[in-house]
């Protein structure tokens, strides 16, 4: 316990990074996932094809591979740079990897949400003269999102835990910090582990409860 109290500011800082990594990746994945879902239901074969290949590739690649590619492939070899500071640069690269990966799952969740919207809804919108994009934006997607709030919550929980993979390219989020604390306090590794596990629980449990509540509240009554 002593180690946890002593290192509390360090742990807090690490989890603050985990939270920022999660929120930034979640926002980017939601936007990219929505665009991909729109492409997958669009009337244009090329767009559907591109989105399908993207989703199948990213969904079936281990996240560690994606993150390592972003860090070493994009960062070191291709020299993609967002910042002078090396640690900020790797933070951005890991956000790219996490959101590119999560977007594939978001896309599939949205697509299953679109399938819950009765076809008559889109037909009525077309009959009013709404264009394909307006139809998605005002009629289909709002109803699709309300149907998949709970699954999106599960994706957010998975993403929160997946941010630990960013440790592979040296981002000092929770798991990498835990590793360095293990080295410094070898007599209390069990306490440190349970401390970190508990902190993740504090992040993810309320997320699940909140999304469950939101999903019931926003449910579309038919």
């Amino acid at each position: 316990m002593g180690a946890l109290v002593e290192e509390f500011p360090v742990i807090l800082g690490a989890f603050w990074l985990t939270i920022r990594l999660t929120l930034a990746s979640a926002a980017a994945a939601l936007v990219l996932g929505t665009v991909l879902a729109a492409m997958r239901v669009s009337p244009f074969g090329v767009l559907r094809g591109v989105a399908t290949v993207y989703v199948n590739t990213l969904r079936n690649t281990p996240l560690t591979l994606v993150i390592v590619f972003c860090g070493l492939g994009l960062g070191l070899v291709l020299d993609v740079s967002f910042s002078e500071s090396l640690s900020t640069n790797y933070l951005w690269l890991s956000i790219i990897g996490l959101s590119a990966y999560t977007a594939a799952f978001v896309c599939e969740a949205i697509r299953s949400g679109i399938n819950t919207v009765p076809v008559g809804q889109a037909e009525a919108a077309r009959a009013l003269g709404l264009t394909f994009t307006q139809n998605l934006r005002f009629i289909v997607l709002p109803q699709a999102f309300r149907a998949i709030i709970a699954p999106l919550g599960s994706l957010l929980i998975a993403l929160t835990k997946n941010t630990t993979v960013a440790a592979a390219i040296g981002v000092a989020e929770a798991s990498l910090t835990m590793k360095s604390l293990f080295e410094r306090h070898q007599d209390s590794v069990v306490a440190i582990f349970f401390g970190f596990a508990l902190a993740f629980l504090v992040l993810t449990l309320p997320t699940g409860l909140f999304f469950g509540w939101l999903s019931r509240r926003l449910k579309v009554v038919r």
Binding site: E123, A124, G129, Q143, V220, V221
Partner: protein, 251 residues
């Protein structure tokens, strides 16, 4: 109700054919609907009446033939098609009100998003239309909170909000409980009286008699005969129509 019908045609179908797989659902359909005319399509189920309704605003595509609306050939896709659809109202059997929008939002969505009318103006007009169909007091509710008859009247108001040149009714009372049919038919009859051009697919023979200028009888994808309601119901010209009428009018 045969008087006061304009002579210029608003919709013209020429030689229209449509298949669903191997099923030939529309066979060489030729049909003219004049401005202000109320045409009722009747016939046994599977005759192609609903498909006829749906090809006019291209919710179904056709395989061959031409459809002209207001002098212009029907656009195939894109903005021109959306433009056409905004001029043709449609009322569905299952109402299809937007489930996540209030009654008023259902009626104002088209005017605001398609016609680009200012929200307050669209809401003022929306309330007038809801008043007209007798639902104004429910404006803030959601579709699922209304009865079927009320929902269908909202759907009619939603179509009217676009100031359409014509309204298509695809079996508007078939999904309703019997006691709610009349309230919807009353709204439709008042529209017909006001000179709205209408194509109505229905099994309500009373409506056909009271409001239609013309009855089109369809069977097996073809128009078998068409006539004024009086003439059609009292003196059908084909065996197919006689047979159909004897089955529905005996009880």
């Amino acid at each position: 109700m045969t008087e006061a019908v304009g002579s210029t045609s608003l919709v013209r179908l020429e030689n229209v054919n449509k298949h669903f797989g191997t099923l030939h659902v529309l066979k060489d359909i030729d049909l003219d609907i004049a401005r202000g005319e109320v045409v009722v399509a009747i016939g046994p189920s599977g005759a192609g009446k609903s498909t006829l309704c749906r090809v006019i605003n291209r919710l179904e595509t056709i395989d061959s033939g031409t459809i002209t609306f207001d002098g212009k050939s029907l656009a195939v896709e894109g903005r021109a098609l959306a433009q056409l659809r905004s001029e043709v109202g449609m009322v569905f059997q299952s109402f299809n009100l937007f489930a996540h929008k209030t009654i008023l939002e259902n009626v104002t969505l088209g005017p605001i998003r398609v016609r680009k009318i200012a929200r307050d103006q669209a809401e003022k007009r929306g309330m007038e239309l809801l008043e007209r169909v007798g639902i104004a007091s429910q404006a803030e509710k959601y579709p699922a909170q209304l009865s079927g008859g009320q929902q269908q009247r909202v759907a009619i108001a939603r179509a009217l909000a676009m100031d359409p040149k014509m309204i298509l009714f695809d079996e508007p009372t078939s999904a309703l409980d019997p006691e709610m049919v009349q309230e919807v038919l009353d709204v439709m009859i008042s529209l017909a009286r006001d000179g709205m051009t209408m194509l109505v697919v229905t099994h309500e023979m009373g409506f056909a008699r009271r409001a239609a200028n013309r009855v089109v009888f369809m069977a097996d994808g073809a128009v078998v005969e068409q006539n004024t309601p009086d003439e059609f119901f009292t003196n059908p010209g084909t065996d197919r129509a006689r047979d159909f009428l004897s089955k529905i009018l005996t009880h």
